[in-house]
């Protein structure tokens, strides 16, 4: 009984403490990083160079998934395409050590932009230059196999990210500690909650300093304590000035807290590009209007 009480007391302590942290951060968003961080990174060389990028999807060709459909439309001469501009004329540079955010409403092209930067989708127009290693947070069900244990998944995921085996061997304990899942390492992942998987994914991706860390919605499934832990880690990485963080989120608060600069994409077009506060205010006014 006593123990539980004590735990509770500790917990409330912690929450009040972190809440205090949060409110402090909310008041002065720029204090999240070292003094003048945003200005400093502007002078760094650009690590991601997005130049006049456009992506066009052919809606018709996406739907022809069977031979029958294909030949029928071929015979009817109906193989014309309905082009859909997922992205149009996107231009921005991300500098080394910068925390860069992508915001926009649903279906506005944020994920398409990320795919282009990650190199899995080729833009129809324009060019993207990326100088460095990219560590994406591989979400639930992608780089993980539900039947494997957490430990086995760490190796699989690490391999997919491009880590060396020796590196994973060395840092296995650290990953486990950061994810706070010491007691569950030999358990198949299917028994994990999505938040627990997100913890492992985050721990694996940030165990080293990648040149570019891509963070998207995966974070949002963790509980608030872990989210804060992740934010703190992201902040550490950004402060080191070696890591560029690319954040995509619907949570405008998160973006506001973490990012130096933001690109706002709306319906495939670049609406605004600039310092965090400016763009966030403009984006928020969209909600109220």
């Amino acid at each position: 009984m006593e123990l539980i009480k004590k735990n509770k007391a500790e917990n409330t302590n912690e929450t009040s403490e972190t809440n205090a942290d949060k409110s402090k951060v909310n008041k002065k968003p720029m204090s999240f990083y070292e003094e003048g961080h945003a200005e400093k990174v502007q002078s760094e060389p650009s690590i991601i160079d997005v130049n006049n990028v456009g992506v066009v999807f052919n809606i018709a060709s996406e739907q022809l998934n069977s031979l029958k459909e294909y030949f029928i439309s071929l015979m009817h001469h109906e193989l014309y395409f309905k082009p859909f501009n997922a992205l149009k004329n996107i231009n921005f540079q991300v500098h080394k050590g910068e925390a860069f955010g992508l915001v926009g409403t649903n279906g506005s092209g944020k994920s398409t932009m990320l795919k282009c930067i990650a190199g899995v989708l080729e833009p129809s127009q324009g060019t993207i230059k990326v100088n460095g290693s990219i560590a994406p947070l591989i979400e639930l069900g992608a780089g993980f196999d539900m039947e494997l244990t957490a430990k086995e998944n760490i190796y699989l995921n690490g391999a997919l990210l491009g880590y060396k085996k020796e590196f994973i061997d060395e840092h296995l304990q650290e990953i486990i500690d950061f994810a706070e899942l010491q007691d569950f390492m030999e358990m198949p992942l299917k028994n994990y909650s999505s938040g627990m998987v997100a913890r492992i994914a985050f721990a694996i991706a940030t165990i080293t300093e990648p040149d570019i860390l891509i963070v998207d919605e995966t974070l949002s499934v963790g509980d608030f304590l872990f989210q804060e832990k992740c934010e703190k880690r992201i902040q550490e990485l950004v402060n080191s000035n070696n890591v560029t963080v690319l954040l995509v989120s619907h949570s405008i608060d998160l973006v506001e807290r973490i990012c130096d600069r933001i690109c706002w994409i709306e319906k495939g077009e670049q609406r605004m590009l600039g310092p965090c506060q400016e763009v966030c205010d403009a984006y928020k006014s969209l909600q109220t209007s």
Binding site: E14, E17, T18, F57, N58, S61, E62, N65, S66, L67, K68, Y70, K115, A118, G119, V120, L121, E122, S133, I134, P136, I138, E139, G141, A142, G143, D145, E147, L148, E152, Y155, L156, A159, L160, L161, G162, Y163, K164, K165, E166, F167, H171, E174, D177, F178, E180, A203, T206, I207, T208, E209, L225, E228, K229, K232, R233, E236, L237, S240, N242
Partner: protein, 278 residues
């Protein structure tokens, strides 16, 4: 504070952390094969023994059924009593091709969530399925050895040709797997069609009957059946105890290289478009 166990930052990045190029693909391949292997036998009591038991049981059933049926025909290459050895070699070899193509075909589609996020060599996935089938084939070979010991078929010097056989067949399977996985991305019908093709191919290949039982025209056509060539090559090493001729070697090598070449070209030409269809 709540964050005592933060990560220590690793300054010495690049060289000790990241795999590059082929080494990276190799590590992914290894991890994927390990994964498939673990998953195949997890929670089964006999575990990996099934890879040996399966072809054995299959052979016993087929031997019971077909020994009587094949009484009329015969082969001049080996004594009739060794029919079960004839069976198991054909079966195991065909199963290798069947496994690698059936699983390789859907490998790109199943890896879709990953391929949408991370830039990795896409060919790793179909190749992995062929390699995994090769691992299973290796276990099945234990079953062949058991049967050969049972029937007292002595090993010969011809066994040095086994690595060549494995090379030819693996190249063939990888190529076919690459080709089918590309096709399956654009036309899912292939997945259904292929199961029919596999059954037809099984019957058209002399696995459980002697080629001499076929009508002449079909016997002539068998020359163009790569699986027949591979199976006969393997049988000549283990069962007929003859050295595979140069011609047989060239035919099998050509089949392997042609399949790999076509598969690789088709895959590489289309892989950029995969993301739009998966």
């Amino acid at each position: 504070m709540a964050f005592k166990k933060g990560l220590t930052t690793h300054k010495s990045v690049s060289s000790s952390t990241w795999n590059t190029g082929v080494k990276r693909d190799w590590f992914i391949l290894k991890e994927l094969v390990t994964k498939d292997f673990k998953l195949k036998y997890r929670r089964s009591i006999l575990g990996v023994a099934w890879s040996v038991l399966n072809p054995l049981l299959m052979m016993i059933v087929m031997a019971i059924v077909f020994t009587h049926m094949m009484r009329g025909g015969s082969s001049d290459k080996f004594p009739a009593i060794l029919f079960p050895v004839y069976l198991i070699i054909g079966n195991v070899t065909f199963a290798f091709m069947n496994d690698s193509t059936s699983q390789g075909m859907t490998s790109i589609i199943s890896a879709a969530p990953l391929l949408k996020k991370v830039k990795i060599e896409r060919a790793v996935f179909p190749v992995e399925k062929a390699v995994f089938a090769l691992v299973n084939f290796a276990f099945s070979c234990i079953a062949i050895v058991i049967v050969m010991i049972f029937f007292q078929v002595p090993p010969t010097l011809n066994f040095i040709f086994i690595p060549f056989f494995l090379l030819y067949l693996t190249l063939f399977c990888i190529g076919l797997s690459l080709f089918l996985s590309t096709l399956a991305v654009f036309f899912r019908d292939i997945i259904h069609l292929w199961s029919v093709v596999i059954i037809a191919w099984t019957y058209l290949t002399p696995i459980f009957y002697y080629p001499s039982l076929l009508p002449d025209w079909l016997q002539n056509l068998e020359k163009f059946n790569p699986m027949y060539q591979f199976i006969e090559y393997f049988r000549s090493i283990l069962l007929y105890q003859t050295t595979p001729s140069l011609k047989a070697n060239l035919i099998c090598l050509a089949c392997g290289l042609a399949s790999l070449g076509i598969g690789y070209l088709v895959f590489k030409k289309n892989e950029r478009k995969f993301i739009l269809f998966i």
